[in-house]
């Protein structure tokens, strides 16, 4: 296994591209096709947001954080409920000012949460088996799900970003009927891009960012030159908490803040598989691939499947991402941009 096996990856890429282009050849309208494509890309951006949190924590602490979904739910609940309660508590106007203050407070809450997790969960379990740490984050998931709903309530809440839900028509001159694009999705894309830029700047330009990258590269080496590991873990969990907050805000404004947000984050798992556990660009590209693949499969693959086997409805997007990731793992176990792993006895 000296050289990288590129053949199967290229083959898989060709198959994917063919699958992507197939609906065009079978004569569906290009306008509709583009609409699905764009819809998929935007859903993909949202998956990327959740996947980013996974990758950040995995890079810095080697923990596969199953609780990222629960953190998204917790942050979104905090944001939604604080924005609702703050006007009553301190008399600031509801709407944008309340939301902004709630955002700041929720960020603070996520930082405290990061600190608590590091103290209570990570520090006693340091140098344990990765699977044990995964189980611990499963425990954190359950705790956060219960805790969040106990203190914030368990109904469906709204986050109002003040964007109209009306879709807009674009490119009417090029296609018959134009392409419907939701404004919310556009804003989400902009927010996600800003977040990624901020993270890139933070990682590349600040001293803390450099320390984070050093820890990600080699724990022991970083510690031996005096980087405080514990503080770095708090920081990286706090950053992941912030990413979860942003993801929760965007998802929450789209779907409403409810328990299913935590389940939705399970969708980010195939994304990190596809992109590789340690790659931030991988998380973004993986998210886009999964988003597009899922929408395409649902729209173009679902109906024929239902017709062929007389199914009781489609819903193949529930598993499509996972099966895609599974196939991908078979050809390339380390993901698109992951590091090659070599076993030694």
């Amino acid at each position: 296994m000296a050289a990288r096996k590129n053949g199967p990856v290229i083959a898989l890429g060709v198959v994917l591209a063919a699958g992507l282009a197939a609906p065009l050849l079978t004569g569906s309208a290009p306008g509709f096709y583009l609409e699905v494509l764009i819809g998929g890309l935007m859903a993909g951006v949202l998956y990327s947001l959740v996947a980013l949190g996974f990758v950040l924590i995995f890079k810095a602490s080697g923990v596969f954080n199953f609780a990222q979904g629960a953190m998204v739910l917790f942050a979104a609940l905090a944001l939604a409920r604080l924005a609702e309660w703050l006007p009553g508590w301190i008399g600031i106007p509801a709407g944008f000012p309340a939301l902004a203050l709630a955002f700041v407070l929720a960020t603070g809450i996520m930082i405290v949460l990061a600190w608590v997790v590091e103290r209570v969960v990570l520090r006693p379990l340091v140098a344990q088996d990765p699977v044990a740490l995964l189980m611990a984050t499963l425990g954190v998931t359950f705790f956060l799900d219960g805790f969040g709903q106990t203190i914030w309530g368990s109904d469906v809440y709204k986050i109002d970003l003040g964007i109209s839900k009306e879709p807009t028509m674009i490119l009417q001159s090029m296609f018959e009927g134009g392409i419907l694009v939701s404004k919310e999705d556009l804003v989400a894309t902009v927010i996600a891009t800003l977040l990624v830029l901020m993270l890139a700047l933070f990682f590349q330009k600040t001293a803390t960012g450099r320390a984070l990258r050093a820890v990600a590269d080699d724990h022991q080496a970083a510690q031996s030159i005096g980087i405080p590991l514990n503080r770095i873990w708090v920081i990286v969990w706090a950053v992941a908490g912030f990413v979860a907050l942003v993801a929760g805000m965007v998802w929450g404004s789209k779907l409403g803040v409810q328990f299913s947000l935590a389940q939705l984050a399970l969708k980010a798992l195939p994304v990190v598989i596809l992109g590789g556990f340690t790659s931030i660009p991988g998380a973004i590209i993986g998210g886009l691939v999964i988003g597009v693949g899922e929408k395409m499969a649902e729209v173009f693959l679902g109906p024929p499947l239902v017709k062929m086997w007389d199914l009781a409805g489609g819903g193949i997007e529930n598993w499509f991402a996972y099966v895609l990731a599974l196939l991908f793992l078979m050809v390339r176990p380390e993901g698109l941009f992951g590091e090659k792993h070599i076993d030694r006895v």
Partner: protein, 358 residues
């Protein structure tokens, strides 16, 4: 003290190879089995059978299956409830399509079908391991969930998507009362638990443990990884399938695809973490813990809430249950990563050396 093996000499190979080598262990286990078989049917109430004992026994069987895979072979599975679902639906279809089949035969066939599916979804384990494998098994979970929810053939074209079973009948005897059902489940569980106990100390079990401890090293000393891993998936899925068939037929009676969801899978995983990875006894302890915890919390929380003047509704109680669950898992991982079964083993060790500390 009373637990020591002084004076118990093994004079033949048969004696040396007994499952329970120490006389006190043997007495304890035989006593427990005899108690469960002959005393419990007279002591427990119908509610006790329905809500506690039957689910506990069935779920222990599934936990043993998962423990064989995760605890003994080191292959993580986040989709084991799906294999239970396979067993349940396989049994349902067998009963619907071949009504004259004996229920025990149905159970075994359902287990075998689950084992086949287990081998299929175990194939990725040859390429990938650890966390990646966890996600691959999640793929199995979601795909199988979807298949049972959407493909009408499996639910025999029932309009609501849920299926209900006929009462169990064997050799002209109907298993109606909870006591009879409990005894049926108990016998099946005892047989399979002893089989598992035997399996893990034979050459298959040892090759699994070698795989778990270090797969590359195991391969170097001549253990075939494909054979070891796939046999672990097959046996584990077989146990899950049998447990699933009983869960559907004996415990639930009628069920929807959501009965075997990802949350059930995670619960099974928690059982073996809390009970003890790589321990058959641990599977029982963990299952008892997870089955009893919600029932106990439901009883205790309103009382505790009343003491401090709070009113615990059912929603809040279920959230508290989540929290306590999560906290306990973290607690056990930190304090005793090998589970309650390990505490039991330490206790026995102390007794053997008593009154000396070492």
């Amino acid at each position: 003290m009373f637990y020591r093996e002084n004076g118990q000499f093994k004079a033949s190979y048969v004696e040396d190879q007994q499952i329970l080598g120490i006389r006190q262990d043997r007495w304890f286990i035989f006593g427990l089995i005899a108690f469960a078989l002959f005393a419990v049917p007279y002591l427990a109430s119908d509610y006790m059978f329905r809500a506690v004992l039957i689910p506990f026994l069935i779920v222990s069987l599934a936990a043993i299956g998962l423990n064989l895979l995760v605890g003994y072979c080191g292959q993580i599975s986040l989709g084991h409830a799906a294999f239970m679902g396979i067993g349940a639906y396989a049994a349902y279809n067998l009963v619907v399509r071949f009504p004259q089949l004996n229920f025990i035969l149905v159970l075994v066939l359902a287990g075998l079908i689950a084992a086949l599916v287990g081998i299929l979804f175990g194939l990725p384990s040859l390429q990938i391991k650890g966390l990646y494998l966890g996600v691959a098994t999640l793929a199995a979970q979601f795909f199988i969930d979807w298949v049972f929810a959407r493909v009408k053939w499996f639910t025999n074209y029932s309009p609501s998507g849920s299926v209900s079973t006929a009462p169990i009948e064997m050799f002209g005897f109907k298993f109606d009362t909870p006591t009879e059902r409990y005894l049926l489940v108990l016998v099946v569980v005892i047989v399979f638990a002893l089989m598992a106990k035997n399996l893990v100390r034979g050459h298959i079990g040892r090759s699994w443990m070698a795989m778990r401890d270090m797969d590359v090293a195991a391969e170097v000393i001549g253990i075939r990884p494909m054979y070891a891993k796939l046999s672990a998936f097959a046996v584990s899925a077989f146990y899950a399938g049998v447990a699933g068939a009983m869960w559907g037929f004996v415990h639930l009676g009628s069920w929807e695809p959501a009965a075997f969801s990802v949350n059930f899978s995670l619960n099974l995983l928690f059982m073996i973490i809390i009970g003890g990875m790589g321990s058959i006894l641990g599977s029982f302890i963990g299952a008892a813990f997870i089955v009893l915890l919600p029932i106990t919390l439901n009883q205790i929380l309103p009382v505790l809430g009343g003491l401090v003047g709070m009113n615990f509704g059912t929603a809040l109680a279920s959230h508290m249950e989540f929290m306590i669950f999560g906290a306990l898992i973290i607690f056990f991982l930190i304090v005793e990563p090998l589970g309650i079964a390990r505490l039991w083993a330490i206790g026995k060790e102390k007794l053997r050396l008593w009154p000396f500390p070492h």
